[in-house]
């Protein structure tokens, strides 16, 4: 039965291939009966089918079904396929090896001799890789054959038949051709690793660009991206090592030009090629969050100490758990209702679900550098992601929250997409009173600037000068009569947590990511500068306390007329009274008000004009 199958197979293969060459059909050791191999093990002899072996992964699996530790060719099992150009160029087993070839070759350098070819390295490499140089000329080495070492030129053995454009491929010793001269390529680029270089930090200590466009811009000098000393947020005092790299990165297919992150919990892979990929996919924030959660990196045996430096991942994931689903719609006593008419989140739109809701795109790496962040500066420049942020935290926020040039041109940093809002033909948001937009409505990318919520007041995108308000620099503290005012300069993050406002006691969070705990301990109230009034409005200055903003949903979404929801900013658990508990009794005007935000927004909080109606803009919630 088997003999009959063998004869049929051999004859049919000859017919289908049409080559008529005994050499092409011959079964030679080791791929012959000595290892129970027949034609039909690799070729299907039916005339209606191709007799050729499948390419790529299918061929890889077929070869490795024997060439694995449990297979018949277990002694030659340290192999992995050479994935090239993200798989668009197929370099499979047969590209370099001829399973029909003999285990000796006359194709050596210098010519006129024979050499062992135990690994059946192919001489006609251009058969499957058209651009390859051929023939591959094998150097006589001390053992079997070489991959390009030895004396004399040319040095185009099997690796160099394709790697002709790299600056170091020939190892001639000349400048740019001296990469590891004297070593076999496979001494560093092992077949078992798919020819991936063994050392992460060895290659990534310096840049290299061979001009093939993979990756764009060439190889990065990643080692230098990590700040020196003991200040890195991840490594905590250890020089970056290969093992550190592989805590976050999987290198199985790195040779194809992609960079893969390995999920700290599940081991799933996040594949991307370059930084610009972060604007589309994959969702790298999931990768970050799965380590920066309550249980760390579950893939590791020491999940709360992934780098071995004692630096536990801070739990950020829980901050993103809750959200609120309220139409962003607010009003004031002077200008009426306004808003963008969208659901708001109680955190930045990191998750895919939030991004689907808002149309925004933001990832952890837009603000933090996985390589560049230091303990002393965890922020990175959103427009230059490999550069640590050099400004204030508030100005970092303004990189996005300055309004840009208005809806449609919000001036977002690299790969950040602002939430989508509906505007009319003049670029004004649709959800302002009396502006229904109609057919001229357009959905554009936009983000409200922090200084102004009043979209109808052109130019609404004018960036506010934060140096002019009390919660930042240049407050009234320098004015005559106010010498005793608080000396602290606050940042956006004093009141807002950019990671979100979820807490166990307030699982829905709140709009505008107000912190659930405000640390005012450093904000010192040092005097009574309202003698004859009702005492200082901030008589809790210097204290810290939890903040829970109560939100009262409205009856209908906008533009329904009335403010559809109410946030209690100044109540007993509100934000403002964390410091200004005595605000309502402090003066006449306050005694008639119900909420701080009715008159005081970002632009009016004890600045040059501290309430609505003065020179600054209208209040924001």
């Amino acid at each position: 039965m088997k003999n009959q199958r063998f004869v049929i197979a051999a004859v049919t293969v000859a017919l289908v291939l049409g080559q008529g060459s005994d050499e092409a059909l011959a079964l030679q050791p080791p791929h012959d009966a000595s290892n129970t191999i027949t034609c039909s093990n690799c070729h299907f002899p039916h005339p209606s089918s191709s007799a050729l072996i499948s390419r790529d992964a299918t061929q890889d699996v077929m070869c490795r079904s024997c060439h694995n530790p449990t297979g018949q060719a277990s002694t030659m099992s340290d192999i992995a396929m050479h994935v090239v150009n993200t798989g668009t160029t197929i370099v499979d087993c047969g590209s370099c090896h001829d399973p029909h070839g003999p285990q000796t070759t006359t194709n050596v350098h210098p010519p006129g001799s024979t050499a062992p070819n135990r690994f059946l390295v192919r001489g006609n490499t251009a058969k499957y890789v058209p651009a390859a140089l051929e023939p591959a000329i094998y150097q006589v080495d001390t053992v079997d054959f070489a991959f390009g070492t030895g004396v004399g030129a040319p040095y185009n053995a099997i690796c160099q038949t394709c790697h002709t454009s790299t600056v170091h491929h020939t190892n001639t010793g000349a400048p740019d051709n001296d990469h590891m001269a004297g070593l076999d390529c496979t001494s560093c680029h092992r077949h078992a690793d798919g020819f991936l270089p063994q050392s992460c930090v060895g290659c990534h200590a310096s840049p290299q660009d061979n001009g093939d466009g993979i990756p764009p811009g060439g190889r990065r000098a990643v080692v230098g991206e990590f700040p020196g000393g003991t200040v890195h947020a991840h490594l905590q005092g250890n020089p970056v090592s290969d093992a550190d790299c592989q805590v976050c990165h999987d290198v199985t297919t790195h040779q194809n030009g992609s960079v893969e992150l390995i999920d700290p919990d599940s081991g799933a892979l996040y594949t991307f090629v370059n930084w610009t990929d972060l604007g589309s996919s994959p969702d790298v924030s999931d990768f970050c969050a799965n380590c920066h959660d309550a249980n760390g990196a579950q893939r590791l045996a020491t999940p709360m100490d992934p780098f071995g430096g004692g630096n536990a991942p801070a739990d950020m994931k829980s901050r993103f758990q809750g959200t609120v689903s309220l139409w962003e719609w607010y009003g004031d006593s002077c200008f009426g209702n306004e808003g963008t008419g969208r659901f708001v989140n109680s955190h930045h739109d990191i998750s895919d679900a939030d991004q689907a809701n808002s149309g925004a795109k933001l990832e952890c790496l837009n603000c933090h550098g996985a390589h560049t962040s230091a303990d002393t500066q965890k922020l990175t420049d959103p427009d230059s992601p490999l550069t640590p942020w050099a400004g204030t935290v508030s100005n970092h926020c303004l990189a996005c929250h300055d309004g840009g040039a208005g809806p449609g041109a919000p001036g977002m940093p690299t790969d950040v997409i602002a939430p989508m809002i509906d505007v009319d033909a003049n670029g004004m948001p649709c959800n302002i009173p009396g502006n229904t937009c109609g057919v001229s409505q357009t959905n554009v990318s936009g983000l409200r600037p922090l200084n102004s919520c009043s979209y109808q007041n052109a130019p609404w995108w004018v960036q506010y000068n934060f140096a002019g308000m009390a919660h930042f620099g240049d407050s009234k503290r320098g004015w005559p009569g106010y010498s005793g005012a608080p000396g602290a300069v606050m940042e956006c993050t004093t009141c807002h947590d950019p990671h979100g406002s979820y807490s166990a006691g307030n699982p829905a969070g709140n709009p505008y990511i107000i912190r659930d705990f405000v640390d005012g301990s450093s904000l010192v109230d040092d005097g009574d500068r309202f003698s004859g009034w009702n005492g200082p409005p901030w008589n809790t200055m210097g204290q810290s306390r939890a903040v829970v903003l109560t939100v009262t949903p409205g009856a209908s979404p906008p533009p329904g007329g009335a403010d559809p929801y109410t946030i209690n900013w100044g109540g007993a658990t509100g934000l403002c009274e964390a410091c200004h508990v005595n605000w309502q009794a402090s003066d006449f005007w306050h005694s008639t008000c119900g909420a701080c935000q009715t008159c005081h927004g970002h632009g009016q909080v004890w600045g040059n004009a501290d309430w609505v109606g003065q020179d600054d803009d209208t209040p924001c919630p």
């Binding site: 088997k2 694995n68 045996a301």
Partner: protein, 310 residues
């Protein structure tokens, strides 16, 4: 023959390369072990999974939650593995061509078959404590008594019924037939001959099924390219993992009839790339050593009864 059914197996979990384990100290992260090439696996009575990695040279022990709880290192190229009721671990050593026996702490205390075994590819234990070794390059199954004495070789090199050519895997399993005899039999994945052969525990040939089929095209159901590993599920159905097909075929262990199949080639969760071993887990799950993806793949066994309308 039963109508065949292609059933997608549902991936319920995957366990990629653990970067480190909880045993020992690791002064340098670069020496921490990585599950690079999960090879064979065995389940102990406590539900723990023991996985050999022929490239790391270790046995990884995973608890019921499939967390790595320990690693037994320095085993060369470990292949087949089995665990007895005392917690002793039997490891086939390709490097030393023998079976190493480790205690539950991973300490080597006995070797079996040195000088007799060429390639201890897969191991199995019967209820009497006899050890069965699929000696692939010896083209036979060697049987050792509980004292480690070679008592029998089952099969010799050849392609006739009862003969073997590169037996890659074995299991000792009770056959659930309608008579309820519960006969315990030895199933051998006769890889070189592309078939499964069945013997009684005295080494007598009983039956064979399947035949070799070409790798890529043609009707493969009920036939094999590279039968690589065997397992018997709780319903008495034989699961045959074929590394050449990248599929598991569910078969009637008596008639050899094809019932269903699962497994697809790929890198995604639930897919397989060069799977080398299959182990039955409780609650209708199987674990596969997915060597090309460097992970264990935990799949839920397809409900063939429902799919077949039974």
């Amino acid at each position: 023959m039963n109508p065949h059914v292609d059933l997608p197996a549902k991936a319920i979990d995957r366990f990629p390369a653990p970067r480190e384990v909880q045993q020992g100290t690791f002064p340098d992260l670069s020496v921490r072990s990585v599950l690079q090439h999960p090879t064979r696996a065995a389940l102990d009575g406590q539900g723990r999974l023991f996985v050999t990695d022929a490239k790391v040279g270790s046995v990884f022990v995973l608890d019921r939650d499939r967390r790595v709880v320990s690693e037994h290192k320095g085993l060369g190229r470990p292949l087949g593995i089995a665990v007895d009721s005392q917690g002793n671990i039997y490891v086939g050593s390709a490097e030393h061509r023998r079976v190493d026996v480790l205690d539950s702490k991973g300490r080597l205390f006995r070797v079996i078959g040195e000088g007799a075994i060429q390639m201890p590819n897969d191991l199995a234990l019967d209820g009497d404590g006899n050890l069965y070794v699929a000696d692939s390059l010896g083209h036979t199954v060697r049987v050792f008594d509980p004292s480690g004495n070679l008592t029998m070789n089952i099969g010799t090199r050849g392609d006739a019924p009862g003969e073997l050519r590169f037996p890659a895997a074995i299991i000792v399993a009770a056959r659930q037939d309608p008579k309820g005899s519960g006969a315990v039999e030895l199933y051998v994945a006769d890889q070189g001959n592309g078939r499964v052969q069945v013997f009684d525990l005295a080494g007598r040939f009983l039956r064979t099924f399947g035949e070799p089929v070409e790798a890529f095209v043609g009707e493969w159901r009920g036939s094999f390219v590279r039968p690589q590993s065997l397992a018997m599920d709780s319903q008495g159905r034989l699961h045959v993992l074929d590394v050449g097909l990248t599929k598991v075929q569910i078969m009637d262990p008596v008639s050899g009839d094809f019932v269903a199949d699962y497994g697809t080639l790929g890198r995604s969760v639930g897919q397989l790339y060069l799977p080398l071993h299959i182990v039955m887990l409780p609650e209708g799950q199987v674990a596969l050593t997915d060597s090309g993806n460097r992970r264990l793949e935990i799949l839920r066994i397809p409900d063939t009864q429902a799919a077949l309308g039974r």
